[in-house]
Symmetry: C2
Subunit: 492 residues, 2 copies
């Protein structure tokens, strides 16, 4: 301002005032008025110009941001653009509902054997090979370095591991009591092929889910004989024969025998390692790499389960299972239960993705088996046939469709759920059935990262908002505490 005024006067003497004229306006300091108006005009236009540039830049920024980031949730990625999905998604947004602005990308499998390059850490490219399309399954060698594997094992050992399955779990009757089912209704539920009789595989399929003891077809025949259930000795149970059984007859019979670890569904020890803020650098880095690998919003990954580290001794196994269950209309996810106002008896862990890391190379055995990978069809009952039980990872691992050899540092990733065709999580992928084959020599260390997503978008959104609010209120509390502290300090 001073400089500007100085410039106009610079090097020129003030003019003598011209003789006053009747019809002229006050011509006092003509040059000063002139420069002030000049200055005003310049400044006004300059400000208008700057404001408009800022407004336009904000518009550009907002326009891009609304394409890339959800506005009501901390989902920070939108890799797949689902315009069609948006068109199809005709659900009207209401006050309590979250409008869909997050779409979960899925990695393209292309075909078995397809290799794609992925960037997971700065300055390094990884190769990701498609192992199967059903389930969508990938293998990424050298996901972890030798040192990182050693750190994770060491951290797990420091924390201490516990038996993955201690004994036959109790309170298993609750579900059927909650559902209030009669023996007839249970019979019809078990009778998967609806032929009015219970085949051994129908009993086996059920019992494994229910009480965690792994019955073999031979065990079942022993039990039938011991309890004298199959009176006509035809190998199948009629409604009448089934009705005479107490619901926990099998369990009581087995407990008489004494249950060994090798009779259980899983025979391993495990622990959980926290990966959030302040966790060990290797665990944080692992989570970041998983986020980049899955291409999912970081918030989804951050709010998922901690890292599970599992240790199988020689002879350890995990029979074939699904990491997460099927979704019915009233199924509740464990992680979003707080956001669901329901007491539905159907609950599952809603593990959208499993990322499994091999922390050592097993001497012999211990493969991860996917018995029905890329099968043309999936039929639960046909998994147990002619005394060959494809679910049994102690006896029949060699007969499954696909086995992954445990190699130190390698990660495998698969989807436990299909897409819903609208960019969100859909039905359970039954083909994601997998197990850990028996470790025949040496021991086996693995770790699991599960990405939890509720197939109900609304519930996932509500849950994330609740977490966000909680975090904010905690921060406010901390701020208030800090203020009080500052206040006290000032008073002193």
């Amino acid at each position: 301002m001073t400089k500007f005024q100085g410039n106009t006067k610079d090097g020129t003497e003030p003019l003598p005032a011209p003789p006053p004229l009747a019809r002229e306006r006050i011509p006092v300091q003509k040059s000063s008025v002139c420069s002030r108006s000049y200055f005003m005009v310049v400044m006004v236009f300059f400000h208008v110009y700057i404001l408009n540039v800022i407004a336009l830049l904000l518009y550009v920024h907002y326009n891009n941001a609304s394409n890339a980031v959800g506005s009501d949730l901390d989902f920070t990625s939108r890799t797949n653009n689902h315009k069609i999905a948006e068109q199809l998604n005709t659900e009207p947004p209401s006050d309590t509902r979250f409008t869909r602005n997050v779409y979960l990308p899925r990695i393209e499998g292309i075909r078995v054997g397809h290799v794609q390059k992925v960037s997971l850490a700065p300055g390094k490219m990884h190769e990701m090979r498609t192992l199967s399309l059903k389930p969508l399954l990938f293998e990424i060698p050298d996901f972890l370095s030798e040192e990182e594997c050693a750190v994770v094992v060491r951290l797990a050992q420091l924390k201490g591991l516990t038996e993955s399955q201690v004994m036959v779990p109790e309170g298993q009757e609750e579900l059927s009591q909650q559902l209030n089912l009669s023996p007839e209704e249970i019979f019809h539920l078990l009778d998967l092929n609806q032929d009015g009789q219970l085949q051994p595989q129908e009993i086996l399929t059920h019992s494994r889910v229910r009480d965690g003891i792994w019955l073999t077809p031979e065990n079942l025949r022993e039990i039938y004989d011991g309890l004298k259930v199959d009176q006509d000795n035809n190998g199948v149970l009629s409604m009448e024969e089934f009705g005479q059984l107490n619901s926990d007859s099998f369990q009581r019979y087995l407990l008489q025998y004494g249950v060994k670890k090798s009779h259980l569904v899983r025979n391993s020890k495990h622990t959980w390692l926290y990966q959030g803020q302040g966790a060990h650098q290797v665990l944080r880095e692992l989570r970041n790499r998983v986020t980049r690998l899955t291409r999912l919003p970081p918030s989804l990954v951050e709010l998922s389960e901690p890292l599970q580290v599992v240790h199988y001794e020689q002879g350890g196994h995990y029979h074939a299972h699904h990491d997460s269950g099927p979704v019915y209309s009233d199924t509740v996810c464990t992680h979003t239960r707080v956001a669901a106002n329901t007491s539905s008896p159907f609950q599952t862990s809603c593990r959208y993705i499993t990322v499994l890391f091999y922390l050592n190379s097993v001497e012999e055995g211990g493969e991860t088996t996917f018995p029905v990978a890329d099968n043309r069809t999936f039929e639960e009952v046909s998994l147990i046939q002619n005394n060959v039980d494809l679910l049994d990872t102690r006896k029949h691992c060699d007969k499954g469709n696909l086995r992954v050899k445990p190699t130190k540092g390698t990660a495998v990733l698969w989807y436990n759920y299909l897409s819903d065709g609208k960019g969100w999580v859909g039905e359970q992928d039954e083909y994601s059935l997998h197990g850990g084959c028996i470790v025949t020599r040496g021991t086996k260390w693995i770790a699991n990262n599960w990405i939890n997503v509720d197939p109900d978008y609304q519930r996932q959104a509500r849950y994330q908002q609740l977490v966000l609010q909680q975090q904010e209120s905690q921060e406010r509390q901390q701020d208030m505490n800090a203020d009080e502290h500052t206040g006290n300090h000032q008073e002193l």
Copy 2:
């Protein structure tokens, strides 16, 4: 400008010139100088401001446009946003290269049996059911109305149909001559399992591709006997035995016998119907519906083959085949050949998608078979085993994995190529193998729409630019003709 000058002078008398001073610059018309500087400043800032607003608006527009529409080609859709693909696409753009800004969306299959709603025509929703994932195959009932089916059949009849395969094609030796292969090299190419012997299925697989006559395993045995080729009578040919055969021995032997229509690969009549500007409304509408169904850029669909209408009489068939061949590094597409500076002997039709319409409901037989759909693996040789030839649609249609019943108005769509993982066309999908089962009662009318896309993006882009330039020059020519005409008119 004149108005502005007028304003400054308005109502004020010109000031008398002040007495000249030695150190002062000419102070003539002070107020005029002042308003002129004011005017200059206003105008300069106004122009700078306007120019900047325009520049920013252009930036916003360009930014949006580059996300939505290709700028160098008339690809008008970009449904899939492949940011990752763009990151992976590290090919540097050069003067003659087209930067990738078009990405081909693929319909999601989710799982066999999945049903999704699609909007193909105003005021009507269609249901699209996933029939298989390998190939990615969908069925859309009521794609055409009864009347539309009748119109297409009538138009084909008016145009006239010709035999789809008249006789054994000639000049088939060209390829091996071009490739300059010795009998040893041919032997090793045919010996798919590399066991040093030619099994019957290795001969059959080759001969069908080569000369269009459908040899059955029985035919082959007859020929071996007739030509006394298999001297040790072990059912397979050694290098020595093969060397004694003239390359067209098989053909000449067959011609002696006389080739019936039922001995050919296909036994049908067909014609082509133009669907471009000015075509029958039903055909135009059909193309529009196909564009909406495939979600591909309209220009790609518009530049594809005309509609093929096929008529099978009772007893008609089309043995299992691929609509489009595999892609090698030097494979040329028929439709973009003009844009390829090569004389490569490998040429295929590059039919990315097949849309097949059933124009009538066949009384009995005539299903479309996909013998290896969703098979766990694909092995060409294992298709012919133990006298069961899965490729034979006259004998073994019932043994394939999937058959679609011909129902009037229904469309089926499948992809003949996989994705390349970067939003473009990749490898041939071997599982897209299909055929027309023998029509056992009645006749069969179908139509095919193929969407041609070059797996080489650069060639497809060059081709489309060539077409565009041609169209423009034609328009210019028309304009010039019009101008000349106007000129003549003025002279009169």
